[in-house]
Symmetry: C14
Subunit: 85 residues, 14 copies
């Protein structure tokens, strides 16, 4: 088997596992933040604007770590600098 095949296999497996493992943490964290936001709205309806805005900024920040993983997975599949090696 030629080297390109090995690199292709490694890229495929790594890309899949990267996004799969990398989605666990952000998803759970977003679920926690969202759940707490809902509880906060129920507890203090008057502050729902502040709560919602803080929630969305936080979700974006958390989502960023998932996007790091997605970027790495996409790079490994479509823009892998080693596939020409």
């Amino acid at each position: 088997m030629d080297p390109a095949t090995w690199i292709a296999i490694a890229s495929i497996v790594t890309a899949g596992l990267t996004i799969a493992i990398g989605s666990i943490g952000p998803a759970l964290a977003e679920g926690r933040a969202a759940a707490q936001a809902l509880q906060a709205i129920a507890q203090q309806p008057d502050a729902s604007n502040t709560i919602t805005r803080t929630l969305f900024v936080s979700l974006a920040m958390i989502e960023s770590t998932a996007i790091y993983c997605f970027v790495v997975a996409m790079i490994l599949i479509f823009a892998n600098p080693f596939t020409g090696g």
Copy 2:
């Protein structure tokens, strides 16, 4: 066994595991957010509109990490750039 077979096997196994592992986090997170939303409605029925709207936006955000995994799995099965290697 020729390289294409190895790449096919790696793609099949990776696609399956990606969506399988990648669905655990989002599912649990959505379950948590939904459960908290139901509790919030029971606690503050008057704010059910705000709660429901925030819930759906949050669910969509969480679902996005599952969709990343589904996209990668579909790419590996139907649009794998390495299968021509």
Copy 3:
């Protein structure tokens, strides 16, 4: 052993594990959401309509990640694009 056999074995094992692992998260999440909905009804019987409707929308959303896994498993068994390789 010919390549088709290897691909068949990989597809069988992956299909089974995909739906098996992929059903853990959604099932637990649905159980949590349903349990909280029942508690919410007991706490606020007057809001049972809103609670039930929100519950069913949430269950459908959570179920979607299980369906992703089921779709991938079915594709691997009955519509595997690699089996002709």
Copy 4:
């Protein structure tokens, strides 16, 4: 050993593990939902009709993920499309 034997072994092992692993999540989720329903009845006996109805719909929804696993296991044992390969 001929390919058919390998496929048979893979099918047997996968079918067993699929239903075994796949029954953990739904069983725990049903147990949680049922436990909460019983607590809800004890807390609000007057709403027992609504609670029981919501419980059964939820149990059916959760059971569906276990049935996905059972269906895949049965397909692998009795209607395996690869056994003719």
Copy 5:
């Protein structure tokens, strides 16, 4: 070693693990439901009829996932369609 032996070994090991792993979830779930039912009776003795009836229906539903595993294990030992292969 002939193929029939391999299939026999795979069937034995899989049957045992299927029922062993598959009994963890239902047992824990039934224990949880039963424990909550006992607490519910202690809290609201007047509703013991409704509680007991709901408990038994729930136990039957949870038991069904254990029975799926038992059925698969029995099929693998006594009615294995691959043993003639």
Copy 6:
């Protein structure tokens, strides 16, 4: 080594692990149910008859999953249909 030896080894190991793993879930579940029953009696001594009766029915139901495992282990040791193969 002849096939019968392999099947014997597989049967021995599987029988032991089946009953060992299979006794964890039921034991913990029975412990939970019994603990809750004792708490319920302390909380509501007047309902001790109903509690005790419900406890024993539940214990029998939970024990059934342990008995499935014990039955499979005994079949594998003393009535193994493959040992003649």
Copy 7:
């Protein structure tokens, strides 16, 4: 190495692991039931007779799963039907 040696090794290792793993669940369950019984006595000293009796019946039931494991371990060491094979 002759088959009898392999079977002896498998029996020794399995017997040890069976009773070792199989004692975790019952021990923890008995500890939980006993702890709750002690708490129940402290809470309701007048019901100590009913509590003690229910505790001992429950402990016997839980102990039964440990005894299943002990029986299987003893059978594997002293009455192994495969050692003559």
Copy 8:
């Protein structure tokens, strides 16, 4: 290496692991029961006789599962029926 050596190695390793793993469950369970007993005495000093007696019976019952493991370990080291094989 002769068979007796293999059996000796298997017996040594199994004996050690059996008592090591087998002491985790009973130790934790005894610790839990003892801790609860101490709390119960502090809560209800007048019932200390009943509590102490129930504690010692429970400790003896829990200790029995550790003794099963110790017996099996001793049998494997000093009275192993396979060492003459």
Copy 9:
């Protein structure tokens, strides 16, 4: 296979796992901090400015550990000092 291929494979797999594993901790930590911030706002709306500012500084600090991982992953893919070895 030449050394450059091995180094490429090691770099691909390591880069993916680094960002995947390295995103779990920061994501969960950010989720926790954000959730607590939302609860704090609901509890003390007047201090929302201080809370939000402290939250963002903390998120930046936590994000830094994720960025360490992202930097290492990018170095391994695009600026690997060993690829010329």
Copy 10:
């Protein structure tokens, strides 16, 4: 390598792991019992005699499982019946 060396290696590794693993459970259990005893003294200083006495009896009982492990480790190192085999 002669059999005595293999048995020596197995004995060394097993002795170390036995006491290492076997000290986790008793240590945690003693810590729990001691912690609860301290809390009980703080709650009910008048019963400190009964509490201390019950604590020491319990600690001795829990310590016994650690001593089982220590005995087996010492036997394997200094009085191993297999080293003459």
Copy 11:
């Protein structure tokens, strides 16, 4: 394959895993400290200066363990004393 390649591979894999594993603990710890700080501000707004200052000193101290890992990873990639071996 020459030794330099092996050392390069070991350095790459170790550097990635070091920063990946090493970021989990500090991230979670910082998240916990930050979350508690936010709760403390909400509870005692007057002490927000002391709280914020203590928080930042603590975050710096916790971050130091992540920096140890980052330093080791950087040393392994860019200043590895073994690469000349």
Copy 12:
């Protein structure tokens, strides 16, 4: 490689792991007991003498299991009876 080298390697690895694994349980247990003692002093300062004395006796008892591990590790390094074999 001669037997003495194998025994030396086994002794080194085992000694390290024994004290490493064996220090987890006692350390956590001492931490728990000490933490509870501090809480008890804060709750009942008048009983600080009894609490401190009971704490030190308990710490010594818990430390004994760590000392067992340290003794075994030292024996394996400096007084290993097998190194002459």
Copy 13:
């Protein structure tokens, strides 16, 4: 491959894992201590001097175990006594 290479690889991998694994415990412990200190300040602002001083002494003590790991990692990389072997 010469021995120096093997020792270099072992040193690299061990140094990385030592600091990576060794930073988890201290980081979490410091986070816990810092979090509790912040809560303590919020609860008793008058004692902030004593709390802060005790916190810093404790953090230094906890940090010492991380420094042990860092020292060992540095010794393995820069002052390894075996590299001349």
Copy 14:
């Protein structure tokens, strides 16, 4: 490869893992004790002298298990009695 190299590799890897694993338990335990001490000071500022003194004695005792590990690691690196074998 000569025996001295094998022993060197085993010593390096063991020394690193010993201090790495061995620092988890003491660090967490010290964190717990320190956290509780801070809470105790906040709850009972008048007893801060007794609390601080008891804390430092306890920390020293817990630190001792980490020092055992550090001693063993240092012995393996700098005073290994097997390196002359």
